[in-house]
Each structure stands twice: as C-alpha cells, then as structure tokens.
C-alpha cells in the first residue's frame, strides 16, 4: 500500500473484558483487550476456538455488550454506530431469507431504511455486479452453492455502503478450494469498496492472505497475544501463498500460539 498513510481510528476498543455467568462458574471470554483499527484497514481476528474472537466482533457490532471497557466505532458508541448503520455484517452461515430471491435478499437492508424502489433496484444491480452474481439475481438461495450464497451475504452487507464490514468466519463452512477462491474475490471486492474490514477466522493462511494486520488472540481467557503486520504488497494473487514470505509469516504466527 502507499507509504504515507493517514491514520484515523475507525474502531477502538479500550481494555474490554467480557465475562459470562454460567451456573456457579464464571467464564472469562475476553480479558483486557485493547484494539485500534484504522480507517480503510483490513484486519483479521485470529485464534483457536474459545479465544473470544467472535465475541470481540459481536461487541463491535453491539450484538452484545462487554462487562467492562470502552468502545468507539466510527467515532460513536457501539450502539450509536449500529443505529446509524455504520457497519454491515456477514455471519458464518449466509442467513439468507429462503422466500426472497437473490436480488430481494440483497435489497433487504435498503428496504429497511426506506430507500425508494428505483434507487433500490439500481443499487442492487451495482452490488450484483460487484460480487459477480448478475446472472443469478432471480434464483432462490437454495439454488446457489455455499460460496455463492456467502457472496450474496457480502453484497447484502455492503448494500448501505457501510464504513465498516464485519465478517464472522464467513468462509469456514466452505471447502479449502472455494475458500481460497473467495478470499481472492473478497480482496477484489474490497479493492473497489475500500472500507474498513474486520475479519474473524481460525485459519492462519486466510488471515495472512487477506489482512493488513492480524490480531492474534489466545484462549482461556481470551487475550490479545500479538499484532502481526502483513507487509505483502497488494493486489495479492493466489501465487503469494507459495512465497517464502508467506511461509515465514505462517510459522511466525504459529510460534506465537506455541509460546503462550
């Protein structure tokens, strides 16, 4: 990326802790996590299950509230950011509505905010083009492959042109080949949208391939173990997965997990 980069914080988490009370025992999902994500940055939250990465994302999305700590999303509180539709979200499963065709699913957030019909249609056309599903707009979700369904979910999340895109292990249900293809497609989509992306994953190569920075989380309790810069230049193609630099980054992150 460019050398002279202006840093403006987009998401700030300051000493965020999250405890869940199950009968008699207290589970610490997150302990004192502080994270600073810059505007226009692609970051991954990486870690094994139980490290609280999804919890962290859900806190940013205001789907849950932390036990303690401060959060700022797009200069607002998490709740204000949600109410102002500052982010779009993609879940692990596509969560498409069965009764809506592809284009109607993408149009959903636009309907929710009262965008006029004509405007909605042209916006949906743009989004279909962006994710390469123009020919499938009149299909129902079940007529698409898992990868295509997730692309519909991405288009839907981008419908309101959000400043932030939150993605919770969106490709984890896909096979390795589809996942790698979608990684590349996601980067190509992102290169056109250029918003801030927070991507939750448990795959080290996926995190490296996609991100500017990787936030490595360790489990029990969930803590931030390291922040790894990924200096691989963009645009990134599949070939970089074979590069020495890529392997070194992988083993670097592996060592972090083994160290803790």
């Amino acid at each position: 990326m460019t050398v002279a980069k202006v840093y403006t914080p987009e998401i700030q988490l300051d000493h965020v802790s999250m405890r869940f009370q199950t009968d008699k025992t207290e589970v610490v999902a997150l302990e004192n996590v502080s994270v600073d994500i810059q505007k226009g940055e692609f970051v991954s939250l990486l870690g094994p299950s139980g490290c609280g990465k999804t919890t962290l994302l859900r806190i940013m999305a205001d789907l849950i509230q932390p036990t303690s700590g401060e959060i700022k999303v797009a200069g607002k509180s998490a709740k204000e950011a949600r109410l102002a539709q500052k982010y779009g979200i993609v879940f692990q499963s596509p969560v498409l509505y069965d009764w809506r065709k592809v284009k109607e699913n993408i149009s959903l957030p636009l309907e929710m905010t009262g965008v006029k019909k004509g405007e909605r249609e042209s916006r949906v056309d743009e989004l279909l083009q962006l994710v390469g599903l123009t020919n499938f707009q009149d299909k129902y979700p079940w007529q698409l492959s898992g990868g295509m369904q997730q692309r519909v979910a991405i288009a839907r999340a981008l419908a309101m042109e959000p400043e932030i895109l939150l993605m919770d292990e969106p490709f984890s249900a896909l096979d390795e080949f589809s996942r790698e293809r979608l990684n590349e497609e996601l980067l190509s989509i992102w290169s056109k949208v250029k918003n801030t992306v927070v991507f939750v994953t448990h795959s080290i190569p996926e995190a490296i391939f996609l991100s500017d920075r990787v936030f490595v989380l360790s489990p029990h309790p969930g803590r931030l173990a390291a922040v790894v810069d990924i200096p691989i230049p963009r645009p990134r193609k599949q070939e970089i997965r074979q590069s020495k630099e890529f392997y070194q980054l992988i083993s670097g992150i592996r060592n972090i997990f083994e160290g803790v």
Partner: protein, 270 residues
C-alpha cells in the same frame, strides 16, 4: 407438444391404473360376498360399484347440493377458526404472559370429545348453520395456533441478529422475517385442520340439522338396506370433500410459498 403429452400420460398412468385396479377388486369382492360366501347383508358391507354408479346418476345433484352446504359451512368455520388460531399464536409469540395464560386452556379444550361437544353446542345455539361453523372453527383453531406459534418461534437467531444490526423495529421484524418464516407452519396447521373441519361439520349434521351431507347420510342409514347405495355415496362424498379441502390448501400453499424445501426439484444444480 407431443413430448409433454407423452410425459403427462406416463405421469398419470400409475394413478389411473391404480384406481381402476381398486375398483375392479372392490367389484369382485362384492360379488364374492354376495354370491359365493353369501354373508348376510352383503351389500351393506361392500356394495357393487355398478349399483353405486347407477344411484349416483339418479341422485348426483342431491349429493352435490347437500355436499356444497356441508362444505360451505365447514369452510366458513375453518376460516374463522384459522383466523382465531393465527391471531392467538401471534399474541402468544409476542407475550410469554399471554401464552402462559391461554395455552393450557387451548390444550384442555382439545381434550373434550367432539362427539359430546357437538350436541352441547347445538343445544346452546339452536341453529344448525351456526353450530356447524362453530364446531368446524373449534377443530381448526388448535392445530393452526400450535403450528403457527412453532413457526414464529423457530426463527433463525442469526436472522434476528441481522435484523437487530439494521436497528429494525419489532413490527418490521414480524413483517419481514417472522411472518414469512411461519408460513410453512401455518400451512401445516391448515392442512391438518381442513379435512377435520369437514368431518366436524358432518358430525353436527348427524345431530339433527336440516340439510347437508350428514343429514342424508343419517336418513339413508335409518331407512335400512334399501338405501344402502345412497348411504355409501354420502360416505364417499364426505371423504371427497375432505380430500378436496386438503387439495385446495395444498394448492394455495404451493402458490404462496413456492420456496419451501419440499417443492425443490430433487437432484438440484450446482
């Protein structure tokens, strides 16, 4: 065109041959009972098909008129019951308090034998039209309420979170997510209830209505063996009304919710 014709013919061939097969076996069994085994009242047990057909030609209009009366009343009751069930299910899904208050009564109401309830209702309202509607509605109400409530409750949690991320109002969540999501449940309830509503209406007619298929059913049973063919025809008409009601609901279901898994072509595409 030729292809579609061949296709449709091959599709209907099994059904048609099955029906013809059953009718032939019926006729043969009927003949055996009457002439070979010589059981008493053989025709009451299994009448000849050709005699039924002959009676149908003479009394077809009567069956149609009376059948229509039954079907109409069952239909009205069904509509009223379904609406009530739908509304109660929505209220119960909104408020746990309403559910706890009303659900036990809804369940208990289904424990009352319909055979006993029908004369009671008839005795209270003293109007065969209204009694039929009430009983049909009463039967419809429960399966509809139960299945709709289940449909409303089974919303995917992530789909709800998505709505939450859009800062959606509760009413919008119902309109955009919960209602479409509960439609399969609604149709399941309606399909269970529709034939039952017809049966319920016939039951009330047996208690002493002035018209309807149940009335001529009772009359022909009462007049004894000479009316046995007409009696059988009323029973068959009753069954056909049930099948018709079910088919109508299935047809509407397919039209309104074509996206349901059961309508997806098998094999699929990739």
């Amino acid at each position: 065109m030729r292809n579609t014709f061949v296709l449709s013919r091959s599709r209907w061939t099994p059904t048609l041959s099955w029906i013809i097969g059953v009718l032939v076996i019926w006729e043969v069994c009927s003949w055996l009972l009457l002439h070979v085994i010589q059981v008493p009242l053989a025709q009451s047990k299994l009448p000849f098909i050709h005699m039924l057909a002959q009676t149908l030609i003479g009394y077809g209009t009567t069956l149609l008129t009376e059948g229509w009366v039954t079907f109409k009343n069952a239909g009205i009751g069904f509509f009223v019951g379904a609406t009530a069930g739908l509304i109660l299910a929505i209220l119960m899904s909104i408020s746990k308090w309403i559910e706890q208050l009303t659900f036990p009564y809804a369940v208990a109401s289904q424990m009352i034998p319909i055979l006993g309830l029908a004369p009671i209702v008839f005795g209270i309202v003293r109007d065969d039209q209204l009694a039929r509607i009430l009983i049909a509605g009463y039967i419809t109400f429960f399966p509809v309420a139960l299945n709709v409530l289940r449909g409303l409750r089974s919303t995917n949690p992530s789909a709800l979170e998505l709505m939450y991320s859009y800062a959606a109002k509760p009413w919008t969540i119902y309109w955009k997510l919960r209602f479409p999501g509960m439609l399969p449940g609604l149709f399941t309830g309606l399909k269970i209830a529709a034939p039952l509503a017809v049966t319920g209406a016939i039951l009330v007619e047996l208690m002493g209505a002035t018209n309807g298929i149940g009335v001529i059913m009772l009359r022909n049973l009462y007049y004894g063996p000479s009316h046995i063919y007409m009696f059988w025809l009323t029973v068959i008409t009753g069954a056909l009304l049930g099948i018709l009601s079910y088919s109508i609901i299935s047809f509407i279901e397919r039209w309104i919710t074509p996206w349901q898994p059961e309508y997806r072509p098998s094999g699929g595409e990739d």
